[in-house]
Symmetry: C3
Subunit: 258 residues, 3 copies
């Protein structure tokens, strides 16, 4: 996810009362999990399998729980609980929202779009033209629909990612910093669920059609003009390397692109 | 689907600015896909596998994209894009509806029936006596429930069929001309989905019980006194010839009748 | 289920105009199916496989359709249709409810809890502190949520058990006398469904997280700190002896405890 306002490695180290190793003047422009990092991103690492991965990644700044040599062009911020610090930054960037209107005043609804009775549109959502949001569907905060998109009755677009960190207290949810994008002419069937990305944008490609009761997990990227039959559950994890589709389905015009 | 008002082959050919072959005085009383045609129906054909099937079918009038010899007692209407013409006729007969009331004033609700808070009933729906429509369930346009039917919370009855025509622009949805019928004493569990038929009536037989999260695809005909456990996804296609049930389920009092 | 007011075997026999065998002074303090009976409970038996099971069970009073020798410390009430009598008693204890408010005035909502727009809370439900009930979720009658519980958008908690008695007229639903309990820090994903117990309490343990579109059948007891991926359907029947989970899932921190 992009930050609304960039900060520097030094500023963040001060804010977290943490030790800085490396170049404190580097700008942090986004927050990302290790599997999706780009230049300018802050990420975190606290697990033996990922220290080297993180240090060699595209991330510019790394929250880390041990002192390491800092690669050139990067900065390390040493904290006791890197995940907790990271998750706090995501929460600060995207605080929990509570709204009371069916269609939040901060949402944008395009011309010719029908938001049916009982449908709910959260803060900051952007819905294009000539869309149809059927009864009792829910469009979450900041979700984006392009034009001519149909969302079936009871479908839920943009709930938090199902993504947890195991801690001493139990499973702690990562605050999802990502969102959902339904491209033009996409159709989502009744009672489908599409989770927001952990830090990227879960995407349904142009012209793709989902039957009823399809589940699209966080950070999936479904290609264009796919046909996904009812009962498919699509997951993606580990940086796009592994995809599990949990049931045999009907057919797909093009192979999935994640 | 039946037409509200019959037309003749000659009138339709004129309306479509198309060539007529055969008897122009024949009445068109319904629209149907090739797998469900009856006498009086108009159907279409544009695919090499189906020309002979269509010409030998019970259909009275056929939209077709090539000149063929017309069988006796039939009429052919030659158009460049038979599917587009056919779909336009279905859309004219069943135009898209948008409604703003929780229970549309044109719906009929029988005595003793409870439509719970948050439940939605579309235009022209007919609900019998002593039914229970639980919170946030959706009963679509023209759906019919007989008596003593229970629809679980969040269940969606009568969304469009998941049925598309592949065209140069992508997948074009067939407008569904069919409906859904829930016979007496049927029960539909929480968050189930039942799609309307493409041109026939998706039917749940008398006394049949669906657990939560069951999906019944368009044009399925589920028998009487069936028990369908959660997670079943029932599909029917290709004229009733092939049925796929995508998961092992619990049990079913009688075999499925499609 | 516990009765709000105890009765005696003799009083019930009189009420049902039935023959009493054994000690009429015994108190009936609860109603339970044979698989969950405790001392003080009334149960019923009408099937050859279960007569001995019932007579040897912890049940104090047994509705039965044949004359049998009564074990010491028990009472038998002989009726023609034990299930019908039993189900009538459950219905009398938990009559069908119809409510018209989004949040029923008899529900209890803890401090800091958000009931989102479109969400529905039934009579007698008890929701703890700092919970989040997302848009269009449904919390059924008498369902209990402890603290810090999240219920995803469109999730349905506490619909009737999918449990039927085969009778000459078809499948007759057992009236569910049980409920649902979501323990502290539990999270339920979008469009999940959790059925109430037939006579016990369907329970989701502390800290357990359900992804979207998970179904938890009646009387399941899911342990603490479990992670259940989307598309799992968990059932329990036959007294906890057999558990079917109908699909391969992601992972589970501890084995399921039913």
């Amino acid at each position: 996810m992009r930050l609304h306002q960039a900060t520097t490695a030094a500023q963040l180290a001060t804010q977290l009362n943490a030790t800085l190793i490396g170049d404190g003047k580097l700008d942090i422009t986004g927050l990302n999990e290790i599997h999706h990092v780009e230049q300018g991103d802050l990420t975190f690492v606290d697990f033996h399998k990922y220290y080297d991965v993180a240090l060699k990644s595209a991330a510019t700044v790394i929250l880390i729980d041990q002192v390491r040599q800092c690669p050139p062009g990067k900065a390390l911020i040493v904290v006791k609980e890197p995940f907790k610090a990271y998750n706090g930054l995501v929460l600060a960037e995207r605080p929990e929202q509570r709204w009371s209107d069916k269609v939040d005043p901060s949402a944008t609804i395009g011309a010719g779009t029908w938001v049916a009775t009982g449908a709910i549109v959260g803060p900051g959502a952007v819905i294009g033209t000539n869309c149809r949001i059927n009864p009792n569907a829910v469009i979450g905060e900041g979700v984006v629909l392009e034009d001519n998109v149909i969302v079936g009755a009871g479908a839920i677009i943009g709930e938090e990612a199902f993504y947890f960190k195991k801690t001493a207290e139990g499973y702690t949810p990562w605050r999802s910093g990502g969102s959902v994008l339904l491209c033009s002419d996409a159709e989502v069937g009744a009672n489908c669920t599409i989770a927001r990305g952990v830090s990227s944008v879960t995407t349904i490609g142009r012209g793709t059609k989902l039957d009823a009761q399809v589940q699209i997990g966080h950070d999936c990227r479904i290609g264009e003009h796919c046909i996904i039959a009812s009962g498919w559950h699509c997951w993606q994890y580990d940086g796009g390397r592994l995809v599990r589709i949990s049931r045999a389905g009907w057919y797909c015009a093009k192979p999935y692109h994640w």
